[in-house]
């Protein structure tokens, strides 16, 4: 503790001396000093405990108040443990000045030492029957804190709902009370707090929710919205309505209120509306769609916070019907927004385009647009995704390559664009030169012009080493597609002595191709097959529909380095993702922070629960799990799939059930980057002497979860642990509640049917957090 550079630790002890003095002035300053200078990390603070204890029992209420205040603001857990009894005593006093302070002090104690919560329960009995608003307010805070922390307390306090409703009603109906009035609304602080407590109490309970419906409707319709206060209350009301089990009419009312907020001039209100709409868009999608145009207008707002919220919400609202219009707006936004948004916006556009693209041409156009406007901000793995997409749309090859070529002529600074373009030119250069484009006016390009462009990329300062690799490979591929090979040979041999090791290696290898293995060249450099999208759950493996396998007889005679029994595709794939693989991993993992991009994926992941083509970014062409290890071209790349650990391995498996010889183990994966979905694989094994036939596993989860059971591997669990039946369960846990499951097992053992029910509660915390 230093002041102006000089040690001022003496100040802390002075505070203690002042606190111990009898004079009120001294005590006041002493406690103030204590709150400012001391906190739980200094050992000295414990010396205060005794003083506070004495002062809590002082005859003057202001001294008691000071002590409560200090304890409530900076009390450590040891202090709280010692003094909780005193606080509890004061909670029961009739002095309202002290009671309200004691209530908040109790809140602090509970936050620090949750086990002491039970202690305060009896004192809360008649807290709500107080007339004094201060006490009422702090009691509601106390009750809220208790209910949030303990489901038992929650159940216990549910019976208070009618009383709370009554208090709220009185507040609204009563006339003007000057003491608590803020711009014509009586005690908005208390109203908001009660609404929040009601929200917690009504959350998963139908009866309570029903009891509240009327009062919520009343508050929603009667509150004045001209001032911030009114809007604050409405905001809390809307949050409550959306969270409890309210009837649909009420929900529509809530969303309309939010819509009105959106049109408000006050930026704060708009921000708040966008935030709440974001929370509700999953459950009440249609209702929010109605306000789509207003939300899209918010994209043009000047305020950064509002723009961010609007962008997230817009992505959540994109669906098959409005995708064209929304994309147009979003692309326009991408053009004009700040750099901090561009990355998230670009990935959002890609994801939406992938899910809802009305036609391949539109999809490619959209991607081109993103690449040309925000090319340097797109994520690194979008390049392989794009390439995979392009290969899939066979009829669009000519069109695509033409557009990419034109884009390259304009601008070579955006690396992802350049990489995709050079890859495409390498693959489809013949289409480009022959001028066969159906969708667009074909342009006249000669082979030399194409080679000029590619060589320009190689030589340019703007190109990163990765891009140079792409262009060199593209030039090489063109040797089979173009007629003039000499120029290519020259380029390749020049780069054989390049400083960049990667380029040099490639050039040398290509040179070797020209000189010694010229007969293999056409086969090696043939057109790439269509790549199928890889699954991102678990280890990624390329499923290649590859018809052009190298005749393996040929390599048997040649030295291993060039034995490429795996397809040329493998070779080129590796070069594609070659050195990119490692950096790509590093970017995908950290790119799942709590950023808008991350939220986006979660949102979209939630909507498309069933899976489908994994919308998550996967470094698609991972090095194939090929057994042959051609060391030549795959130097430095390992054979094992590099991405089987994208899922944070670390959730320990558990035994869910073990009875009568049947043992069921759960193993967990979180391969899907959506942290709300847990993928559980059950392994059922049988240690008895007879097989268990007709084995059926069923599971049920609490209402807040959703369960998806995939089909089991078989119905028979072989005896004596000779094998196991596996089945995959996917659990969606949006509220991150403790995962619990009830399972029902039916099977036939030695002819007699067996049925059993069990509850599984011992899920490791990491599986649902």
């Amino acid at each position: 503790m230093h002041m102006l550079g000089y040690p001022a630790h003496f100040g802390q002890l002075e505070c203690l001396k002042l606190i111990a003095s009898q004079k009120f002035t001294d005590k006041r300053i002493g406690y103030l000093g204590a709150m400012l200078l001391l906190d739980e990390r200094q050992d000295v603070h414990l010396l205060m405990t005794n003083c506070i204890k004495n002062d809590l029992n002082h005859s003057t209420q202001y001294v008691q108040g000071l002590a409560l205040c200090t304890l409530g603001c900076m009390g450590s857990s040891e202090m709280c443990r010692d003094l909780a009894g005193e606080v509890e005593k004061l909670l029961k006093t009739s002095n309202s000045y002290l009671r309200k302070k004691a209530a908040l002090c109790a809140v602090h104690v509970i936050r620090k030492v949750p086990e002491l919560m039970e202690m305060f329960l009896p004192a809360t009995k008649n807290l709500l029957s107080e007339k004094n608003h201060g006490v009422l307010h702090t009691s509601v805070v106390l009750l809220t804190e208790m209910c949030e922390r303990s489901p038992d307390m929650l159940a216990h306090f549910r019976k208070l709902v009618p009383q709370l409703v009554r208090i709220l009603k009185n507040l609204i109906m009563s006339g003007y009370s000057p003491e608590h009035d803020v711009s014509g609304i009586s005690d908005p602080f208390l109203q908001v707090r009660i609404l929040r407590l009601l929200r917690i109490l009504g959350r998963s309970d139908d009866d309570s929710s029903e009891a509240m419906n009327d009062i919520l409707a009343q508050v929603a319709t009667n509150t004045e919205t001209s001032k911030n206060v009114g809007n604050a209350i409405l905001y809390e009301t809307v949050l409550t309505i959306m969270d409890i089990k309210s009837e649909s009419g009420l929900r529509v009312l809530a969303i309309n209120i939010l819509g009105r907020f959106l049109l408000n001039n006050d930026k704060n209100i708009r921000y708040v509306a966008l935030t709440s709409l974001l929370k509700t868009v999953q459950t009440d999608h249609n209702a929010v769609q109605r306000h789509r145009s207003t939300i899209v207008d918010c994209l043009k707002d000047l305020d950064v916070s509002i723009k961010r919220r609007a962008m997230e919400l817009s992505f959540a609202l994109v669906n098959g019907n409005n995708v064209r219009g929304m994309m147009k707006e979003l692309l326009y936004f991408l053009d004009s927004c700040d750099p901090e948004f561009k990355a998230d916006c670009a990935s959002g556009v890609f994801l939406s385009a992938e899910k809802y693209a009305p036609s391949k041409r539109w999809h490619i156009d959209t991607i081109m647009r993103v690449l040309t406007t925000a090319g340097s901000y797109v994520r690194d793995d979008s390049v392989p995704n794009l390439i995979q997409l392009i290969t899939n749309s066979v009829e669009m090859h000519a069109y695509t390559v033409q557009r990419l070529y034109k884009a390259l002529l304009d601008d070579i600074s955006q690396q992802p664009l350049v990489q995709v373009a050079s890859w495409c030119i390498g693959e489809y250069g013949d289409l480009l030169v022959s001028g066969q484009c159906e969708e667009e006016e074909p342009i006249q390009v000669t082979e030399d012009e194409v080679l000029d462009v590619l060589e320009g990329l190689l030589a340019s300062n703007l190109s990163t080493p990765v891009t140079r690799g792409y262009s060199l490979t593209a030039i090489m591929k063109l040797s089979t597609r173009f007629s003039g090979v000499n120029r290519i040979k020259k380029v390749v041999s020049i780069y054989g002595s390049s400083i960049d090791v990667e380029l040099q290696q490639r050039a040398v290898e290509y040179n070797a191709l020209f000189k010694k293995y010229d007969h293999m060249r056409p086969a090696l450099l043939e057109r790439m097959p269509i790549m199928e999208k890889t699954a991102t759950n678990g280890p990624t493996e390329i499923v290649q529909t590859n018809g052009e396998m190298e005749p393996s007889a040929v390599e048997a005679k040649h030295p291993p380095p060039v034995s490429q029994p795996t397809s040329p595709a493998n070779d080129l794939l590796d070069l594609l993702s070659g050195n990119d693989v490692v950096p790509v991993i590093q970017t995908t993992l950290p790119s799942k922070p709590a950023s808008a991009g991350g939220d986006l994926l979660e949102l979209l992941g939630d909507i498309s629960l069933g899976g489908g083509p994994a919308p998550t970014p996967a470094p698609a062409p991972a090095p194939a799990v090929s057994s042959t290890q051609p060391a030549f071209l795959l130097d430095g790349l390992t054979s094992q799939p590099l991405f089987n650990d994208i899922a944070p391995a670390g959730i320990p498996p558990m035994t869910a059930y073990n009875k009568n010889g049947l043992k069921i183990d759960f193993t967990f994966e979180r391969a899907n980057p959506n942290p709300n979905i847990a993928v559980i694989t059950i392994h059922a094994s049988n240690s008895t002497e007879a097989d268990m036939t007709d084995f059926v596993f069923q599971a049920a989860v609490p209402k807040t979860f959703q369960l998806q059971l995939l089909s089991p591997s078989s119905n028979i669990v072989p005896a004596l642990n000779q094998g196991s039946v596996t089945q995959v369960i996917r659990v969606l846990n949006p509220q991150k509640q403790q995962l619990r499951m009830r399972i029902k097992l039916t099977y036939t053992l030695k002819g007699s049917p067996v049925q059993d029910l069990a509850e599984v509660n011992n899920f490791p915390p990491q599986s649902w957090q």
Partner: protein, 145 residues
């Protein structure tokens, strides 16, 4: 729950800070410094809320800054700030920055009467001011004795 409250002038001088969570001095200074810079950089017409290091920051004009937890109602926090300013105004009689500078302990006392453990404890302006009056009286009486 409110995590901390800062009061600072346009020249980035910190006038008042009240912390409801335990943090070491270095962290407090770092947070204050960064936050002041971020807020002073915002243009006047911008929204009063921003998300920062997974807290929400609420600030009214003249740079009263409160950091809330993510699930708190931002609009009512604005009201809390307004209420606090009104209390200061009533107590000091048309308060200005000088009052805060020269009577900082009184501003703290008022804050302690209004907020405790990050929550509002008294919603009636009158009661807070009355409590302050009586406490001050007690102080003076003891002084005379």
């Amino acid at each position: 729950m409110m995590q901390f409250m800062l009061l600072f002038s346009r020249q980035a001088k910190l006038r008042l800070q009240k912390w409801f969570v335990p943090l070491c001095d270095k962290e407090k200074k770092k947070i204050s410094r960064e936050l002041i810079q971020v807020i002073l950089a915002r243009k006047p017409k911008m929204c009063s809320f921003l998300e920062w290091q997974d807290r929400t920051i609420v600030y009214a004009s003249l740079y009263f800054c409160c950091a809330m937890e993510l699930q708190d109602n931002e609009l009512i926090t604005l009201e809390i700030i307004h209420r606090y300013v009104e209390l200061l105004d009533k107590y000091f009689g048309s308060v200005c920055e000088l009052d805060v500078i020269f009577n900082f302990e009184k501003t703290f006392y008022i804050l302690d009467e209004f907020l405790l453990a990050g929550e509002a404890q008294e919603t009636s302006k009158k009661s807070v001011l009355k409590a302050m009056e009586e406490a001050d009286l007690l102080q003076e009486v003891q002084q005379l004795l």
